[in-house]
Point group: C2
Chain length 151, copies 2
DNA sequence: ACCCACTTGTTCAAATTCGAACCAACGGCT
DNA sequence: AGCCGTTGGTTCGAATTTGAACAAGTGGGT
């Protein structure tokens, strides 16, 4: 059993800490600027990236990395806010697809610039060209490793 | 106002996703292997890294990146479990210091190896030497940027 | 056509999170 | 000594998260 080196431990902790702090910053900004939580924003973004701005609940839960029940809740909130609409799925009676409403698209266009600005300021600009490229590379490697977890 | 490039966005999302997934894995393992939540484990680790295995509540909240009230709750839980003990602070009547108990040390020694193993498998080993070094570098840069936030 | 194991999405209770309000207590200043 | 703006920690309520249990539906093999 190999132990973690000093450096490995520091990197691991730093990685999680950075993610936590960044998430917190995003959370605050979204809340005060648009009344959205980060998970909610995430849902909107993922929907906007999908064809026709709609996705089945399960798929949405996957890309947004939440539990099914968590998603049910958030979509409920978003629906109350008029940003998302539930439709039944044509190919599967049980299925539910969440779809961005016009309001949803509008809101997203309104919020995105401020969000991008914050990401740039606290994440992208904090790194040199080289550092960013390297981190990008590392994240890709992690993603590849983490995605195929269960088969 | 500069937009985020395709690659910047992917990196950002990948970064958060990786952190979320990793946290989830850690959470699961700790829960089933030791009945601890990740925040709780974090508290134990931070205490163990402090002189005498004790820290004032506020300092602990800082290093563990939680809200004060969140920490109050978790320390409460840990105290119930007998892993941590509250002592009053000699230099400040209001102060409270959380201290690892012998039980706490024991538990930590018991859990740490498995945790290290998991971190190694899903984080460290997922990256080449070079990738790891680069990511480590990037994380350091982020930490430096994020820490001095409020002065 | 019928099973039966798996999938879908929701509901439920329990645990956790956060921020705001709060009460002391501190400590520099006069 | 007395004031007063700040700090330390807890408490409170509201919002959110999770996994387990559930009802309904699907679909391949027989």
């Amino acid at each position: 059993m190999r132990w973690l080196s000093e450096r490995e431990l520091r990197t691991w902790q730093g990685f999680l800490t950075a993610a936590t702090v960044l998430t917190r910053l995003v959370e605050q900004q979204l809340k005060e600027e648009a009344g959205l939580s980060h998970p909610q924003y995430e849902v909107l973004v993922r929907l906007s990236a999908a064809p026709d701005g709609e996705l089945r609940m399960t798929e949405l839960a996957e890309v947004a990395v939440t539990s099914k029940s968590g998603l049910t809740y958030q979509v409920g909130q978003l629906e109350k806010a008029g940003l998302v609409r539930r439709k039944s799925c044509p190919s599967d009676v049980r299925g539910v697809v969440a779809a961005l409403t016009d309001e949803g698209w509008r809101k997203l266009r309104e919020v995105a610039p401020g969000h991008a600005e914050l990401v740039r300021r606290h994440f992208v600009d904090g790194l040199s060209e080289r550092q960013f490229a390297a981190l990008s590379d590392g994240v890709d490697a992690l993603a590849a490793r983490l995605a195929p977890q269960e088969p």
